[in-house]
Subunit: 146 residues, 2 copies
């Protein structure tokens, strides 16, 4: 159990709760790296558990893989985030969340006005303002709107 700092994909999957296929996908995307055995099987570092942990948390906060990729790429020579990195990153995540909450709150206020007037008018309704397009970023692709 000495050289167990190197693990196969199945173990990594178990430890992170991710599907094997998802991990392979992340590798394709460049979120994580592996070395290969003689027989072409992936071997990961134990620290990758943490790295994928970060990925999952960031995802839960609403970041897309592309953004997560960027955050990870910003780390010195692609290391897995340590405590200090994490604090820095999570502070920036906090800002993201704050922004989302604010947007939603503004939307809610407008909706309240709307309940009052019941207008539903496309021209006048406050909910219908361009600036808030993509407002509460719903499911599915939204880019077309922007």
């Amino acid at each position: 159990m000495n050289r167990n700092d190197i693990i196969p994909i199945g173990v990594l999957a178990q430890r992170t709760g991710l599907a094997v296929s998802a991990i392979r996908y992340y590798e394709d995307r460049g979120l994580i790296a592996s070395v290969r055995t003689g027989g072409n099987q992936r071997r990961f570092l134990r620290s990758d558990i943490r790295r994928l942990g970060f990925v999952q948390i960031a995802q839960k906060l609403g970041l897309g893989l592309a953004e997560i990729e960027r955050e990870l790429a910003a780390l010195p020579n692609g290391r897995t985030p340590n405590v200090l990195d994490w604090q820095r990153i999570s502070r920036s995540l906090r800002k993201e969340i704050d922004a989302r909450i604010q947007l939603l709150t503004r939307t809610r206020n407008k909706l309240d006005e709307c309940i009052g007037c019941g207008c539903l008018s496309l021209d006048r309704c406050a909910l219908y303002n361009k600036e808030d397009r993509a407002g509460a970023a719903g499911p599915g692709p939204r880019y077309v709107l922007d």
Copy 2:
């Protein structure tokens, strides 16, 4: 200009700001209905402008087309929402938004704890709790996780 309560798809598109293709798609989905001319062209009611207005607003509030479909289907014989309907519906939308805000707020609080401890531990991290899966519903399909 008397019987202009019946309009072709292009006009409806212009008045709602939607693409013609989107409107056809909505019709396929059953969100809106049309009659056909002798030459098989769609004709819509002027009131459908309002109906699609509702669709767009609801979408901005983060509802998927399926949910919107349900709301619309709940109206007596598929009429377009009038002021009273709208007030009822928007109150229910408000609840949705409130829930989202709460979820995000809880997530933010947990993140704050995390900034303090910097643990990033998958077992212990508060951000990693099953109950909050799909937490801040990010982009892309999430159903697989649930």
